[in-house]
Amino acid sequence: MLKIFRKLDLAVDCPTDQTCCGQPAFNAGYRREARVAAERFIRIFEKAEVVVCPSGSCVHMVRRHYPDLFRDSPDWRRRAVALGVKTFELTQFLVDVMEVEDHGGRFDGRITLHDSCQALRALGISAQPRRLIAKIAGAEFIEMRESERCCGFGGSFSVKYPEISTAMVDDKVHDIIATGADAVVGVDISCLMNIQGRLSRMKSPVRVLHIAQLLAGR
Amino acid sequence: MTTQHDFIGRVAAALGNAGATERRRATVFSARPGRRNGEILKRTRTRTDVDRMMLLKELIVQGKPLNLRVISKKDPSDTAAAIAALVEERSPEWEGPKSVAAWRHPLLDSLDLPAILARQKVPVYLPRQTNGTPESMDERSRFRSRVQTAFIGITSADYCLAQTATLVMKTVPGRDRSVSLLPSIHVAVIELNQIIRNLPELYACLKYDGKPPDWGFSNCLTLISGPSKTADIELTMVHGAHGPRELYLYVITPRSGPRDRMISIQ
């Protein structure tokens, strides 16, 4: 990401005392604990002009769930909403805010894209990663069947309901392999971790890349 | 079992609704035709035959995927001839001789079906005339057995919705529901001016064209969009589950050329 931002001549700061947006606790139903993380997140990031995050689900947490989390504290809620407005997922930031699609990335081979649930449905991120991939030199893009179908990660769901989770990721992996792609790309590391884990266990040569890695030419 | 008062009291308590009943009632129920209903009614009342021909076209298109066969005929006698041809070429699904059951209805009366079908020796059963005396168990029993053995049921309808290819039938004396339900083939005969566009028009007509204080539709109103079907086995579509397997709709369409006549729906 840094490489990309530097190319765009952006002043970047990465607060090193950041920890977590609180999503794991929130999704598991532990709202009080999630709030602790959320308050910290807001304190650390609210002074920034823009906050960019390489994770659709984290941005979703901030934009969609923070106001809900703070519904009983008007002051915190206001701060959460103000922060949400300037928090962007990476591809959203590059395509919609910076309006730059070509970042000099290169990939020789076929690429397919997995649409992460939170990024797609909550944030409407679908065209942006596709536009970025289209500008990757040497790459051939193939849509997989049902790219928007959930990969089965779902946070702790993946360890608590492993057979269901595995059955779902199997379908996803099947669709990926059916495209003949050399690599599958996504905007959410959690989905990618899940997909990669299954591909690896199956000894598949298909690579798994986060969009940032693809853009930076890894 | 609980009383209505206690049950609804619990619902009201759950909603935290303390009073404001009259105000809420006014908001939730419409007291008189709102602007939208007014527009809809105006449109139905000022519709011309040209407009209706467009609706007929749409009806035919919408009916196709539903297996609804829409046939335009120029007058009652042409319609009667077509029905006679249908009776001739079709066979009963269940055992027994051919017979037909029909509504008592002015439009159907004008077809003179008993006479037409008598040529093929096919009886036409009509419900008895309403004469003030309540129908006996015996009469109803006989009616049921006649309708049950008929292989074609012939009705008219009150309205036909073009957008969804729907026939609308109010249940009133002489126009019983089982005639469009028990026989294997359902034949409906309507006039062009009975075709309206869609559900909003239907509901507006039912609510505001009926003569007060009755609602326009009695204890039973049936909407039929195509013959019976099911896809419960492996999602394979099969026509003819429990209701009629075939549905023919004859629309009497005067061929006197398109004229800009204002026709209101009764």
Partner: protein
């Protein structure tokens, strides 16, 4: 109440995943009906925004339910029908049996009704010596097979034509065939006799209309018309939330129901029924009863966080797109309602602790919300159920793994607060993972509770250098994103 098997979620899910026939059937349903829904919404003349209008309409009805029910009851009375209010499943069942006894009913024909599944009506009637025949083809099939429905709209979707063929050969004595039209004709013939001889017809109610005093029934087969026209008594069951104020509300709701359920413009048969047959009518029942059921709905109504679920019109659009339902099928949900709607409404009806797998065993992907014709925010309520569960004290104190989990998250939130502790933990994890990391650089085994992951998947280990460490080391390092 019908039997509650929500505790069997994991077991049934495991069984379902291994069942190739079921998997194929589920894929088929979701392919044919799930994908068609989005397209059907786009083709609406008013556009997909109509769903929001429908949502507001349903919420208004739910929020004025007391008025609507009162008006409905009064108007049904005017149409000659009788309304009975039932607090719970037992009251509803008892009322029905009383009616059956009063009218000397021996045989019942029944249209598909989820609320009658919920209250366990069939077994109770049968125990009272009354023969009950399900007449919806899918329900008829599973009744013959002695099973419960696996889908709200297509109850026998889990059965192949060969299975149905064998079932009919065995139970109906016909020679084996697996041709759906032939099988359907067989059912048509068998059920026709039942319709003609039954004493009582039972139906549900899709959407009642308060201002006119009618219930509505919806089908494509015509079985509900048969069951509510031919027998001499008609008893309709209605979940208390299934009512609209105005007649014109039905336009939007029926169009959306038909699209959500089966990508149709409008269902084949819609009947408005307000009372028994009137003088001059030769057919129709002599008596009409409407049983309006609470059974836990007023509790849901009182809870503003979950009130929205009462907007549901039971179209099953959410089932048709849910990736979890698509793997585990309807039986895993252990109650009348399956899929995303089941994951919300079942715990609210039978107990949050008891049915917790239903809302924990979802990925919150959000496909259901997009598919819902009345735009119900199901994911929001799934999250809210999780929060309720952890608060504890809801029905029972939480037990076992959940308590340990609570401790875990408390510790986690302490760590989150303090970057040094957080980093310390991450470093510890990085060290601890080394013995687990294979030569290929991936982790293949992890101890409980993470073995759920590694049974079927590898795990990419934490990177050797955290981004924040690199950032700290040198602001000018030309390095890339963290993993």
């Amino acid at each position: 109440m019908s039997q509650i098997r929500t505790e069997r979620y994991k077991t049934e899910a495991r069984k379902a995943i291994k069942d190739r026939v079921l998997q194929s059937a589920l894929s088929s349903v979701q392919d044919r009906l799930g994908k068609g829904t989005a397209k059907a919404y786009r083709e609406l003349p008013e556009g997909p925004g109509l769903r929001r209008t429908a949502h507001d309409m349903r919420m208004q009805a739910v929020e004025n339910l007391d008025l609507l029910l009162e008006t409905l009851a009064d108007n049904i009375g005017k149409n000659g029908g009788r309304v009975i209010f039932a607090d719970d499943a037992q009251a509803a069942v008892t009322a029905c049996i009383d009616i059956a006894r009063k009218h000397e009913v021996r045989q019942v024909v029944k249209g598909k009704s989820m609320v009658t599944e919920e209250i366990g009506l069939n077994p109770a009637l049968q125990a009272a010596g009354i023969e009950v025949t399900e007449t919806d083809l899918g329900e008829y099939i599973i009744q013959l097979a002695g099973e419960s429905p696996s889908h709200i709209i297509a109850p026998a979707i889990h059965k192949t034509r060969e299975q149905v063929g064998r079932l009919f050969a065995e139970k109906l004595g016909i020679s084996y065939t697996d041709d759906p039209p032939t099988l359907t004709r067989t059912a048509r013939k068998a059920l026709r006799q039942k319709f003609l001889t039954a004493d009582m017809g039972i139906s549900g109610c899709n959407l009642a209309c308060a201002e006119t005093g009618h219930i509505t029934t919806v089908s494509n087969e015509g079985n509900i018309r048969m069951a509510t026209t031919l027998p001499r008594v008609h008893v309709a069951f209605m979940g208390m939330e299934r009512v609209t104020a105005r007649l014109e509300d039905h336009d939007i709701l029926f169009r959306l129901l038909s699209r959500g359920a089966a990508a149709q413009h409008l269902a084949g048969y819609i009947s408005y029924i307000g009372g028994p047959r009137q003088t001059g009518q030769m057919d129709g029942p002599e008596d009409f009863y409407l049983i309006i059921i609470d059974n836990g709905r007023s509790k849901i109504l009182a809870d503003t966080e979950f009130r929205e679920i009462l907007c549901c019109i039971r179209c099953a659009a959410c089932l048709n797109v849910c990736p979890v339902y698509g793997k585990i099928g309807g039986h895993a949900y252990g109650f009348a309602y399956s899929g995303p709607v089941g994951a919300v409404v079942t715990p609210l009806l039978v107990g949050i602790e008891r049915a917790k797998d239903l809302f924990l065993g979802e990925t919150l992907c959000g496909a259901c919300k997009d598919a819902c014709p009345v735009d119900i925010d199901l994911p929001r309520m799934l999250l809210a159920l999780r929060a309720r569960l952890t608060r504890g004290g809801v029905d029972r104190p939480t037990e076992g793994g959940i308590t340990a989990e609570k401790v875990f998250y408390r510790a986690w939130s302490a760590a989150i607060r303090n970057r040094r502790i957080y980093t310390g933990l991450m470093r510890t994890a990085r060290m601890a993972q080394r013995p687990f990391t294979g030569v290929d650089g991936m982790i293949h085994h992890l101890p409980f509770p993470f073995d759920g992951w590694t049974r079927s998947r590898d795990l990419k280990p934490l990177t050797s250098k955290f981004f924040t460490e690199r950032w700290n080391k040198s602001r000018l390092v030309n390095d890339d994103n963290p993993t």
